[in-house]
Amino acid sequence: MLVLPCPWCGPRNEDEFHNAGDAHKQRPFDPERLTDAEWCDYLYVPANPKGWLLERWWHVAGCQRWFSLERHTVTHEVRPVPENKAFREKQQ
């Protein structure tokens, strides 16, 4: 059972959250210009690392906040990700 750090509510039980997948992906700026392979990559190929994964969570049964965190996919350790600057840098 995970205890996830909601930026608004603090640590809460995983039951209150919805996992929304990879956080590193950005929707391509101009999908019309992509090849099928590139579009496929965006739609269907998740990062799926065996290790630290940057992902989105939704505190759906709580304050409704969306946020990102890093979770280790083997040990299930979680660590918060600063919402703004550091996170955007990581994306690039």
């Binding site: 995983e14 496929c40 269907y44 799926n48 083997v74």
Partner: protein
């Protein structure tokens, strides 16, 4: 191969079962093979077995990082069924069920296959409509999927209790659903492949995939470099990890799927049961334990344990129709790793790297083991996919011809 028979059993009984020969060899890896299979589970051992038995390719090694059948071959709930929604899936699973039926005899090994039948409780109009549609699809392929009235359901299952929250409206019966023993499958395939000359190399983890002149050339392992210009990957749960070694990004994500068993009790359930409203299933094993499972965990993970919230959901669904199990005690719990594709269908395919083929993402690949292994072997031997598996190629993600099976699995 040392054939198993009644007379041999009697002879060995007279010598106190101390004279049985070793079932397969433990060879050291040779420097090169014609084909290397990565993964010593049902799919990998099966691919080697079919390469040797149907294509005469016996200079084959199966590399397993642990002991054979120790991965997700041992982490499923052993159910074999073909109730799917789309034609390519029904066809594939139906062919698989045919192979399963003949496998014990072909391998001269008792895989403990037995038909149990599966009954799905339907608790809403939508579920009845969906089941009716699936029955129509399956009728096209000659697979019986029978809607049961409440009276017929009560006759077959006299001890179920109607749900207060969601009254049972009907049920759908799949008489051909079978179970087989997972260890027996791995051992039977290993024994038959070994007898035909295949090297089964355990405790040998693949750590890298070597390319030369634009095609696959060798694997780096914890037991040294092994050369082969045809390499087949039959890995579950870690498919994307191994494929990355070959520079291939697979459209799969690793999700845990849990199951658990109770302490053993006397026979009480004959069929396998699914409570559609809860997306769970349960049955009684040959050993008398209740076996139950449900949906995948709520987030992707490589940790082979799973979250307790799922256990609670599954148990509440089971108790809704069988409250008599309320005081049964759980004994073991585990999580298998699924490589889940966006469309919940397997990938049996060539890749962008010539010579490197994959058989992954069964989304619970136990039931497809024989057919996937046979088709993978065929793909390796002939270099082109059989029409049966063309729809399951990697190309489907770029072309958009997905085989959307999410939601029809018994468990989700």
């Amino acid at each position: 191969m040392h054939r198993y028979s009644l007379s041999r059993l009697i002879r060995n009984a007279l010598s106190g079962h101390t004279q049985w020969p070793q079932v397969w060899r433990t060879p050291d890896p040779k420097p090169a093979y014609d084909v290397v299979i990565i993964g010593g589970g049902g799919h990998g051992l099966g691919a080697a077995y079919y390469l040797a038995s149907e294509h005469g390719i016996t200079n084959v090694a199966v590399l397993e990082k642990s002991w054979i059948g120790s991965g997700n071959t041992a982490r499923n709930t052993m159910t074999i069924r073909d109730n799917y929604l789309h034609a390519p899936s029904v066809r594939l699973h139906r062919e698989s069920m045919k192979l399963w039926r003949g496998l014990g005899r072909a391998l001269n090994f008792n895989i403990m296959l037995h038909e149990r039948g599966m009954i799905t409780f339907l608790q809403s109009d939508a579920q009845v409509a969906h089941a009716t549609r699936m029955a129509a699809t399956m009728a096209v392929f000659g697979s019986p999927y029978i809607l049961l009235s409440l009276r017929e359901l009560r006759r077959r299952v006299p001890h179920y209790v109607d749900s207060v929250r969601m009254p049972v409206q009907a049920a759908i019966y799949h008489p051909k659903v079978a179970m087989a023993r997972h260890d027996a499958l791995a051992w039977g395939l290993a024994r038959a492949a070994d007898a035909r000359g295949v090297d089964i190399i355990q405790n040998c983890e693949v750590t890298g995939i070597v390319q030369e002149n634009g095609r696959v050339a060798a694997v780096e392992t914890t037991r040294g470099l092994i050369r082969a210009n045809k390499i087949g990957m039959a890995v579950a749960g870690h498919g994307s990890v191994v494929a990355r070694m070959a520079g291939i990004k697979l459209p799969v994500e690793t999700w845990p799927l849990q199951a658990f068993v109770s302490t053993p009790m006397k026979p009480v359930l004959n069929e396998i049961f699914v409570v559609a409203a809860y997306f769970n299933y349960f049955m009684q094993s040959d050993k008398g334990e209740l076996v139950a499972g449900g949906v995948t965990d709520p987030y992707p993970s490589y940790a082979q344990r799973g979250t307790p919230a799922i256990v609670e959901d599954v148990v509440s669904g089971m108790l809704d129709v069988f409250p008599m199990f309320a005081r049964v005690k759980l004994m073991r719990q585990w999580a298998g790793m699924l490589d889940i594709t966006y469309d919940n269908s397997p990938i049996i395919s060539q890749t962008s790297l010539p010579g490197f083929t994959i058989d992954v993402a069964g989304s619970g690949g136990w039931k497809t083991t024989p057919i996937a292994a046979r088709m993978h072997a065929d793909l390796i031997a002939r270099g082109r996919p059989d029409p049966l598996i063309v729809p399951f190629g990697l190309h489907r993600f770029a072309t958009g011809r997905l085989i959307r099976e999410g939601g029809v699995d018994a468990s989700r």
